[in-house]
């Protein structure tokens, strides 16, 4: 196992800790260029200021060829019809060479498809061991089936997902009916088409990007996997249908720990939705009752990205949501009676996030101390933001909130190096261990700019337990499985999940920080099928667990 580490001693105390507080315990290195990641986002903007131009792109970590190395998928926009050169590939696939470099294999993989790409959800819907890709787009979104030979086939029409257009954003794969087959949830933003664009203006003369209020809402979609390669639209039947929604982010969670996956949908200027699984194929929105529909002052915020995780190691998952500037991020902690409480202020997240417009956000244990940290990328919608009162900047620095393990978070973006705190027009964000050193690295995309790959170098001695699950009775990727790892310090819990963040997807393998410990006392795996497995005294390292099998 390769492990990049650095000595904390002399270097750390020298000058990097000027911001106060202890050393973050890790450094980030910008390896975009070294890795050969030559991506540049094309929003297609030509002056007409079409709404979708401001939204993308998303990105994902996946192992499409099954070689155990995380590959990278980044979505792209394209020129609008009749402008520029017209068209352009809507996504790029970069294969991990295993030596720190990546190769663009889009063409070879058969993904050089013209489309205006937005987000992505990666999941093995046919349980063949190779992850398939659902790409959301402006217009018709696509499902690409992995052939297992390094190539993909567009099965949109064949699977019954064709014949519908929209401004689709985030998506996720989950098995809501627990039949062992991944179903698909797709967020739609608003009803928009270039032909019926609305004129909005800040100064009364020049067109600017419209706020979502200018457009009709659009329902999200839920597709049930029939198991024969086709999907059934159960949007109406399941109670998901809602024409008022303007959805941008979606995350799965298991409220009450009943094993049935629930959904949280972040809506822009509309109340957020918390769909509770009724265990009979339907969902009920309990967002208002649970206190997550509106901000504490009763206003529907402009929710963008969302992630759900047990950030306080309490055993129940909390919710982080990125919002518009002046709205602050939300950090919901699950209370005893099922209602959520926004603890962003108490946790020290409100004030730093007040002047930023956030998009992608992920809980990830960056320094492997056993406490989930919170990463969020920021950037404004409109480059003319300078002309608007209360200028908070178009390009904005990302947040890297370090969890102190006592309910407090501290933004250490400026302390971790690599130019991570450089202001950018951030959108997508995903994490994954690209170099197999046991910590999670970061991938972030920018609107109209490059994507950035950051290698994480944790301080020497910090160990992790990484777990990749393979379902047998459950869906093949064990999406929805919950793993609890107990050390002397407490119990961390994580769910195997797609979706989350914004338009993006992180790796499915779970990372548990053990700090300086060599082993975990107990590891409990709760499979989506309902089975539970328990292991004692698991050493730090990387494991693959097949449902019902042995660890290691």
């Amino acid at each position: 196992m390769k492990r990049r580490s650095f000595l904390l001693g002399g270097l750390a105390s020298a000058g990097l800790r000027a911001a106060g507080g202890p050393d973050p315990g890790f450094r980030l290195a910008d390896i975009t260029r070294a890795a050969g990641l030559d991506f540049r986002h094309n929003s297609g903007a030509f002056g007409a200021k079409y709404l979708p131009e401001t939204l993308g792109p998303g990105c994902a970590f996946l192992d499409f060829d099954g070689d155990g190395l995380l590959d990278i998928l980044i979505l792209n926009g394209s020129d609008w019809p009749g402008h520029g050169r017209g068209g352009g590939a809507g996504l790029r696939l970069y294969r991990n060479n295993g030596n720190g470099t990546f190769t663009d294999v889009t063409q070879k993989a058969g993904l050089a498809v013209p489309l205006y790409g937005m987000g992505v959800a990666v999941g093995d819907f046919n349980n063949d061991g190779f992850p398939d890709i659902y790409v959301t787009a402006v217009g018709q979104s696509r499902l690409f089936q992995n052939t297992g030979k390094g190539t993909f086939v567009d099965v949109t029409q064949k699977s019954g997902l064709g014949g519908r257009t929209g401004l689709s954003t985030s998506a996720l794969w989950f098995d809501y009916d627990r039949d062992g087959l991944l179903d698909l949830f797709v967020c739609n933003y608003v009803q928009w088409s270039a032909d019926h664009d609305v004129f909005c203006s800040v100064d009364g003369k020049n067109k600017s990007y419209c706020t979502p209020e200018a457009y009709h809402g659009s329902t999200c979609w839920l597709f049930r996997n029939r198991g024969n390669g086709t999907f059934e639209d159960v949007t109406a039947k399941s109670g998901i249908f809602d024409t008022s929604s303007k959805s941008l982010g979606v995350a799965m969670l298991d409220m009450g720990g009943d094993g049935w996956p629930d959904l949280f949908v972040a809506n822009d200027t509309q109340p957020n939705k918390l769909y509770r699984n009724q265990k009979n194929g339907t969902f009920e929105d309990i967002a208002v009752q649970a206190g997550v529909a509106f901000s504490d002052d009763g206003k529907a915020r402009a929710g963008m990205g969302v992630d759900v995780a047990d950030f306080d190691n309490s055993g129940t998952a909390g919710i982080a949501i990125t919002n518009f500037d002046d709205e602050m991020m939300a950090l919901y902690h699950a209370g005893k009676n099922g209602a959520f409480v926004d603890v962003a202020g108490r946790a020290g997240i409100s004030v730093p996030s007040r002047r930023r417009l956030g998009f992608g956000c992920c809980f990830a244990d960056m320094n492997l101390d056993g406490h989930l940290d919170l990463v969020a990328v920021n950037g404004h919608i409109d480059e003319t933001v300078r002309n608007i009162a209360g200028n908070h900047g178009y390009a904005q620095a990302p947040h890297l909130f370090l969890n102190d393990g006592h309910g407090g978070f501290r933004d250490v973006a400026t302390e971790v190096g690599g130019g991570f705190a450089t202001p950018r027009v951030g959108r997508g964000l995903a994490y994954g261990d690209i170099d197999g050193d046991g910590d999670v690295d970061l991938l972030l995309t920018t609107n109209g700019g490059p994507a950035y790959l950051y290698r994480n170098d944790v301080a020497a001695g910090a160990k992790s337990l990484r777990l990749k699950l393979r379902g047998v009775k459950s869906n093949r990727e064990a999406i929805g499985a919950v793993v609890r790892v107990t050390t002397a310090e407490g119990t961390q819990s994580r769910m195997v999940k797609t979706g989350s963040s914004y338009l993006s997807q992180s790796e499915l393998a779970l990372t548990f920080g053990l700090g300086k410990r060599d082993r975990a006392e107990r590891v409990v795996v709760q499979w989506p099928s309902g089975g539970v497995q328990e292991f004692k005294g698991v050493a730090a390292g990387r494991f693959e667990l097949v449902e019902g099998g042995r660890l290691g």
Partner: protein, 438 residues
């Protein structure tokens, strides 16, 4: 001391204080009552009204969402390509809206300050119930025929929706009106309080001014009286001293002129008969002693030397005698050019000198004293100084009073000092006639 011929102001002042306190009490009570009314108006009416308006806005928002949902249900030509969802798909959306609206309505009725008898609430509740009933019927019908259901939306639901929306708008306007009313009442209360403050302050100012004027006037009279008394007393004392001096002077003259002459004559006669009788020698000695005593008494009562040889002569005469009598050493110095002084001035200066030296002998315990007489251009100054115990308690004695009165009688100034070196110093400064006469 005799009582002032006006009564003491204490009673009047106490009465004034009582009236003032009463006024403050009445005013405070009134103000508190007014403020209480204001607070009640604000919490009871204005705050509740505002919250009610917010809830009505929330209801109006919900109605908007209902309208949008109905629009979407009728909108069969969607912008995007996709499946046509059955009308039944909207059920959860409406269920959510209904929950939200009913909650808002419940809260609104709780907060509202409308009279329950107004019937508007009942109308609103009935209208909503009819709307939800019609909605349920529409969903039922949609299972049979979507077209008919859409017609029901257009004909029944939208009309009912418009009616509810109008009713809510009417309530909002009503709230606004009652808020304006409350506003008017508030400003009326404020005006009343303002006037009260004004009246109260004016009354307070008047009371303060009157009291002050009364006290000033009273004090002025008091000072005037005191001054009068003091003058009268001083006059009396001076008259007394004057009378005493003139009495002493006439007795002294009698003693000197008459008894002196007689005794001198007897002495001469006895001298001539010297040789004849030895007994007569004894008589002559008795006569001589009597003569000396008479002379001394005469000088003591009125220093004739003053009239004969002036102040300095009198000093030269008296000081050695004093030294001999008391054993206190006297250092006598004179400054300036001697001038002829008023008779009055000389007698009083002389007497002050005598009194001061008597004090030295009686109280100071000093072995020596210094007497200084200084003629300056505009005043004559006399200083008597000793090295004794200082003034101590004797400052209020009769001797001091007579010294002060004597100085006063000739427009002079007397000072009783205690120099840092110890002892006591009496200083009399008497302006010369040219200076004070004018």
């Amino acid at each position: 001391m005799s009582k002032l011929n006006r009564p003491s102001p204490t009673i009047r002042l106490l009465a004034g204080l009582a009236v003032t306190l009463l006024a403050v009490g009445v005013y405070s009570t009134y103000t508190f009552v007014q403020l209480g009314a204001l607070r009640q108006l604000q919490t009871e009416t204005i705050d509740r009204n505002r919250r009610d308006s917010l809830l009505l806005l929330r209801i109006q928002n919900g109605l908007n969402a209902v309208a949008l949902a109905m629009r979407d249900m009728l909108d069969t030509e969607a912008l995007a390509e996709g499946p046509q969802y059955p009308l039944a798909a909207w059920k959860p959306q409406f269920r959510r809206l209904r929950t939200d609206l009913e909650d808002a309505l419940r809260q609104e009725r709780r907060v509202s300050v409308r009279a329950t008898a107004s019937g508007q609430d009942q109308y609103l509740v009935d209208s909503f119930r009819q709307f939800w009933d019609a909605l349920d019927r529409m969903f039922e019908r949609s299972e049979v025929s979507e077209g008919e259901a859409r017609t029901a939306i257009r004909l029944s639901l939208q009309a009912r929706h418009a009616a509810i929306s109008t009713a809510v708008a009417r309530l909002l306007i009503q709230n606004n009106e009652s808020e304006q009313e409350a506003q008017a009442r508030t400003s009326q209360i404020y005006r009343g309080v303002q006037l009260n403050v004004f009246v109260f302050l004016a009354a307070m100012v008047i009371v303060i001014v009157l009291t002050s004027l009364y006290l000033v006037q009273y004090n002025r009279r008091l000072f005037h009286k005191v001054e009068e008394f003091s003058e009268r007393r001083s006059e009396l004392a001076q008259q007394l001293i004057g009378m005493q001096e003139s009495a002493f002077a006439s007795i002294s003259r009698e003693l000197h002129d008459d008894f002196g002459q007689i005794l001198t004559a007897i002495g001469v006669m006895l001298q001539r008969a010297d040789r004849k009788a030895g007994d007569l020698l004894e008589v002559r000695e008795v006569v001589q002693a009597t003569l000396d005593k008479v002379r001394a008494l005469s000088r003591a009562l009125h220093p004739v030397v003053l009239d004969e040889i002036g102040l300095e002569g009198a000093f030269d005469d008296y000081l050695p005698e004093f030294e001999k009598r008391t054993g206190i050493e006297i250092y006598y110095e004179k400054c300036g050019v001697a001038r002829e002084l008023d008779r009055e001035v000389t007698i009083h200066l002389y007497r002050i000198m005598q009194e001061a030296l008597n004090n030295v002998a009686k109280h100071s315990g000093s072995k020596s004293a210094r007497v200084m007489l200084d003629y300056a251009t505009e005043a004559v100054t006399l200083e008597i100084e000793d090295q004794g115990r200082g003034l101590g308690k004797i400052t209020g004695g009769l001797g001091m009073v007579s010294m002060r009165e004597r100085a006063g009688m000739v427009h002079g100034k007397i000072e009783f000092l205690e120099p840092e070196s110890g002892g006591a110093r009496v200083r009399v400064t008497i302006p010369l006639k040219d200076n004070y006469a004018g």
